[in-house]
Symmetry: C2
Subunit: 312 residues, 2 copies
């Protein structure tokens, strides 16, 4: 088994673009063609909603599998349906793996160290052997580092043991992120820059940097934040950047260029602009009620856009 970073770079080379498609299944945004099969008295109730998002996501995975190296599951949209949603989350991770897709679990977990070990066991470790049912876990997860670098360590250790990856939040894509993350410290750095500096030795530590030169400990840097991309890239030279915010959050491929070196070292992520392409006139006019064709075309358009801007 190779390191996560090497597997990701190989998958990007094979699929032809450094993109990630996010699975954010939101019941009320699903195509009618899916929802109608789950309505009772005109209504999709809780249990049927889990079945609907399961079917929708399964079909999306099949449509995009050829075109993207990796997908990202947003845990919140599954946790919303409590244990049944969580069961669907792990089943869909298995489906994605069988389609030769790498998987990021977007869980943004963080806690004190002893607790993080338990999160790492459930979300990242491979649970084989007599202790557990064999349930597929993601190839990588997102992690929230606010509590401190000591609390990241159990995640890092688990990633090392199982050749998995992490994407640690460094600079997020949302509008209100600047106030807490770009705030200037007494030494002139921003809080995120200081965080990146603190993370660097961890990302470059034993057993984590692959033959590709990249580390399995990556960083989340919002594609919407071009002003700080150069600085964070310099501070974390070996980390693969996960760049959310393309599409629905307003970022373009152009805005992410500073994250890449020779077209490598980052993945641009889009969720809603791909999953709900059937609601975009540009696609629905062309493919009428065929929502899967809309999704496929949106994925292909993103792929082409990213390839062109990065000179693939």
């Amino acid at each position: 088994m190779e390191l996560f970073s090497d597997r990701l770079l190989e998958a990007i080379a094979r699929k032809g673009a450094p993109i990630c498609i996010g699975m954010d299944p939101i019941t009320e945004m699903l195509p009618d063609a899916v929802l109608n099969r789950f309505r009772r008295n005109g209504h999709v109730d809780g249990e049927a909603a889990v079945d609907a998002i399961f079917e929708f996501t399964t079909r999306i995975l099949k449509v995009v599998a050829e075109h993207t190296p990796i997908v990202k599951f947003q845990s919140a949209y599954f946790e919303q349906f409590m244990s049944e949603g969580v069961e669907a989350y792990y089943s869909l991770i298995q489906e994605a793996s069988e389609l030769d897709l790498l998987v990021i679990g977007d869980v943004k977990r963080g806690d004190i160290g002893s607790t993080v070990a338990a999160y790492a066991a459930g979300h990242l470790a491979e649970q084989t052997g007599e202790d557990y049912q064999e349930i597929a876990t993601p190839d990588a997860i997102t992690v929230n580092p606010m509590l401190g670098l000591d609390t990241i360590q159990p995640f890092v250790d688990t990633a090392r043991t199982f050749q998995k990856g992490l994407f640690i939040l460094v600079r997020t894509s949302n509008p209100g992120s600047a106030k807490l993350q770009d705030v200037k410290l007494a030494d002139g750095r921003t809080w995120s820059e200081m965080l990146a500096d603190e993370l660097r030795p961890i990302t470059e530590s034993h057993g984590l940097v692959g033959v590709s030169g990249y580390s399995s400990i990556g960083a989340v840097v919002g594609a919407t934040q071009p002003h700080t991309m150069v600085s964070i890239r310099q501070r974390l030279p070996k980390s693969i950047f996960l760049l959310p915010g393309y599409g629905a959050q307003g970022a373009t491929a152009e805005m992410t260029k500073a994250a890449f070196t020779d077209g490598k070292g980052a993945i641009i992520s889009a969720s809603r602009s791909i999953l709900y392409a059937h609601r975009d006139k540009k696609y629905s006019d062309k493919f009428a009620d065929n929502w899967e064709k809309c999704v496929e075309q949106a994925a292909l358009d993103m792929r082409q856009d990213v390839r062109q801007v990065l000179g693939y």
Copy 2:
């Protein structure tokens, strides 16, 4: 239905001490008297482990219900067992409610705003009506604010709608927290002090401050961090502080005094030092193999210690 803050203050008055007992069920630390019933071939496998932590936690809840106003469930120890663990988590919240205990879900969730709405739906909203099975959710949850104040808002709105509460991480209890949270900003405040200042208007906003004068939007401030307690207390005068770190993490009741005003405004939380009191010679010598007696005595000792230090 009253606001969470008022319900919590009433429960504290009724039970006689501002304490919280944390449910951190760790399989390998459970008493043999519980574990033995779940061993097969000398081993507690995954499915049996969920049953074991369920039984252990149920019995703990019954032992402590008389002595504490509120309990805190650490989600990680349930998520470790995936959907089955999550099912146990919600069932145990129901059990706690039936024992007249208020419940904090220690989930430390945080994400961009649209995603946070989904987390709020699964972890805090009351899911009644035909859309959902009726599953009990916690009275309050812990929240990670690193992404920005905009991302807190869906949690705040849900808390307001359902008279629930939040405890927002402001200054955590772990050893490595200082580097990221006590770091000095250009304006002289620490990062946590700035965060507290930004949170204040949210905590005091419409519909959140109860007749007690306290807000349902509280803050997590590690009991291990007395050096910054006065400053954060001044910046968030209406927030109830959740103070983890008593006991196993080394904090004493004395170290938390600055969080309280006339014995009010905070709750001191302990987990492992109570749950695993049977491993502490001080208790096991006295109560031999009766682990529930050990737990009860540890809870009573904590209660008495806190009452004495706060002048109850």
